[in-house]
């Protein structure tokens, strides 16, 4: 905020190719890419931005295996200690069938934990965000490709670069 001239610029493009072209040009000039907003995931962008915290898979694995182990423990405790019941002479600890419920429960726990981890690493739910106030931002969920870049010093050269690359509209972001 101390240097108002380096406010990030949001550029609107009509095609994903134009966005990728602008992204390469801006990066070559030494500007910092903050984010891109596209109506569908673009493969070209996956390496371009510094990776977000993405703990989804480890969290899912931990929750899934943990919940499955806990469920197995519960079955073992209830069938062997708390309520031993001789069912047709089968062993109290009937491990082959005791694997079914932990599997189902583990998958459910992994799904729920993964969903929570996904929201957490996206910073959601957050119903309002400064980018929502930008012109044309509502098109990012439909048919426009937006790029958010922080200029390295003065914004004018970056703005020129983005316009050269085919930006329909370049606007300064506030807040």
């Amino acid at each position: 905020m101390s240097r108002p001239s380096t406010k990030p610029l949001l550029a609107e493009f009509e095609t994903p190719d134009a966005l990728v072209r602008a992204l390469r040009l801006a990066r070559a000039d030494g500007h910092r890419l903050l984010d891109a907003f596209t109506p569908f995931p673009l493969e070209e962008l996956s390496g371009a931005l510094e990776p977000a915290r993405n703990p989804v898979r480890p969290v899912m694995a931990l929750a899934g295996f943990g919940a499955a182990a806990a469920m197995y423990g519960l079955q073992w405790y209830s069938a062997v200690y708390a309520y031993p019941l001789n069912s047709g002479g089968r062993p109290l600890h009937s491990w082959p069938v005791f694997t079914l419920v932990p599997f189902e429960f583990g998958v459910l726990a992994a799904a729920v934990a993964g969903f929570a981890a996904m929201l957490w690493s996206c910073g959601l739910p957050r119903l309002n965000h400064p980018v929502h106030d930008m012109p044309q931002f509502e098109r990012a969920s439909q048919d426009r490709f937006l790029l958010l870049v922080a200029p390295k010093d003065a914004p004018a050269p970056l703005r020129r670069r983005l316009e050269e690359a085919g930006a329909l509209l370049v606007s300064e972001m506030h807040g």
Partner: protein, 452 residues
């Protein structure tokens, strides 16, 4: 199967632009009224819904005696309906996740409503085991919780496995479906013209911004869920198969039951998806995104499933003969010459013979023929489930107990009523949420546009 260098197959070229795709899918909900036909359809489902609620109320107050079960044939319509609905319910997530993992991009046009089909069908299926309990008020005893009776569930019981399988599956499917919906809810929010639309879709979208970082995390989660969904779905219907196979009854205690049930689920589920796709395509004018190529591949999948089902039936007969157990051999003989033989022949005709028409491209491309075959498959799959129950129970080990089932009015109510409930669910859904995954269709259009 992906576009490659060929002309676009999964989307009509005139509609390639991203904006046109959003408009085609979102506008019927946000800009156009439901239309008179929709109201008529809604009214037509109401009697079915009332019948369903009445039947459930009746069986909860009067008791299981309303059903046609007797001391020999202790299972009946409830169990057959349960297996039928959960089979349809399994297919949605199975189709969606398997096609995602195998990179079948054409799934984008069908996965959303296939997953919604899962939610409605699995929800309806969940009613049946409860209303079939002799004492439904104790259904919660299936859950392990500390109680003053110091009782615990019997973990070796197939009913307890069912409880966990259905519970996990419904909640998992709801999450999978909602995750896929999230970016589309953001589109709906951004296209909404009314304050109420912005607030409701905005709240549901949780503030989704289409950021590249969001997409990255989203894709990780969605793909991992798909990878988990495939074994989960197979386990759910295998557990349904184990309800039968874990017994000692002739005709049930077969190791082929779990996989045979899974294929049966995929079979009836694909047939149901085809029927729903035809209705949605026609009702919402989505000819541009659900193309003849979609019906062609779905027809091929049904044909494949039909061949596997036929092979499974043949294996059942062969194993009974090869195993040499007299009771097993006698049950298979009873299939063909017993009390329910005409239903059994109908089953063979519906599931094995009629779908062979799908070998011909004409049958896969003509929607009337395809819809007819799909309905026939669903009828045949219901016959299969009721006959699995009836044939074995009517012809068990003890000859002195051999009896047949006598269908009651209540049975018919719980057979036909829930169909209306299912249709009602879809009618409401198509008016409030995008039934086709907009962001995935945009991606296909991008890929096909680049290829063409």
């Amino acid at each position: 199967m992906t576009g490659g260098a060929q002309a676009p197959r999964w989307i009509v070229p005139a509609q390639l632009s991203h904006g046109a795709i959003s408009a085609a899918i979102a506008d019927p909900i946000q800009k156009r009224g439901p239309g008179r036909l929709w109201f008529y359809a809604l009214l037509a489902t109401l009697p079915f819904v009332l019948v369903t609620l009445g039947a459930i109320g009746a069986v909860l107050t009067v008791g299981i005696g309303l059903s046609g079960v007797n001391t020999t044939v202790v299972w009946g319509f409830s169990i057959a309906n349960y297996v039928w609905w959960i089979g349809i319910g399994n297919a949605g997530t199975l189709i969606s996740s398997m096609l995602l993992l195998t990179r079948q991009r054409w799934r984008a046009s069908i996965n959303r409503f296939a997953e919604a089909m899962t939610l409605f069908a699995a929800g309806i299926a969940g009613i049946f085991p409860i209303i079939h309990l002799g004492r439904p008020l104790y259904a919660y005893w299936l859950a392990p919780y500390p109680n003053t009776m110091e009782l615990w569930p019997q973990w070796r019981s197939a009913l307890v496995w069912d409880f966990w399988a259905i519970l996990s599956y419904i909640l998992f499917s709801a999450l999978f479906w909602f995750t896929g919906l999230l970016p589309d809810l953001a589109t709906m929010r951004d296209r909404a013209t009314t304050r109420a639309g912005q607030v409701i879709y905005g709240a549901l979208a949780l503030g989704w911004r289409n950021s590249a970082r969001h997409w990255q995390v989203y894709e990780t989660y969605h793909k991992t869920m798909a990878a988990l969904a495939v074994p989960l779905v197979c386990s759910v219907h295998s557990i349904v198969g184990l309800d039968f196979a874990a017994s000692l009854m002739p005709g049930w205690q077969e190791s082929i039951f779990p996989p045979y049930f899974v294929v049966g689920a995929m079979y009836s589920g694909f047939a149901m998806v085809v029927v729903i796709a035809i209705f949605i395509r026609w009702g919402l004018n989505l000819q541009a995104v659900i193309t003849p190529a979609h019906f062609d591949v779905m027809g091929k999948v049904m044909l494949f499933a039909s061949v596997v089902m036929t092979l499974s039936y043949a294996t059942e007969w062969f194993m009974a003969w090869y195993g040499g157990e007299p009771a097993d051999r006698d049950v298979v003989r009873y299939f063909f010459v017993g009390d329910y033989r005409w239903l059994y022949y109908a089953l063979i005709a519906c599931n094995c013979v009629v779908p062979q028409a799908l070998w011909f491209p004409f049958a896969r491309r003509n929607l009337w023929v395809l819809a007819g075959i799909s309905v026939v498959i669903n009828i045949g799959m219901w016959f299969e489930r009721i006959l699995i129950v009836w044939n074995t129970l009517s012809h068990g080990h003890a000859m002195s107990l051999w009896r047949t089932y006598h269908t009651s009015l209540y049975d018919l109510a719980i057979l036909f009523g829930p169909l209306g409930l299912f249709v009602l669910g879809f009618l409401v859904l198509v008016r409030i949420l995008p039934v086709i995954s907009m962001h995935e269709v945009r991606q296909i259009s991008h890929d096909e546009g680049a290829a063409a």
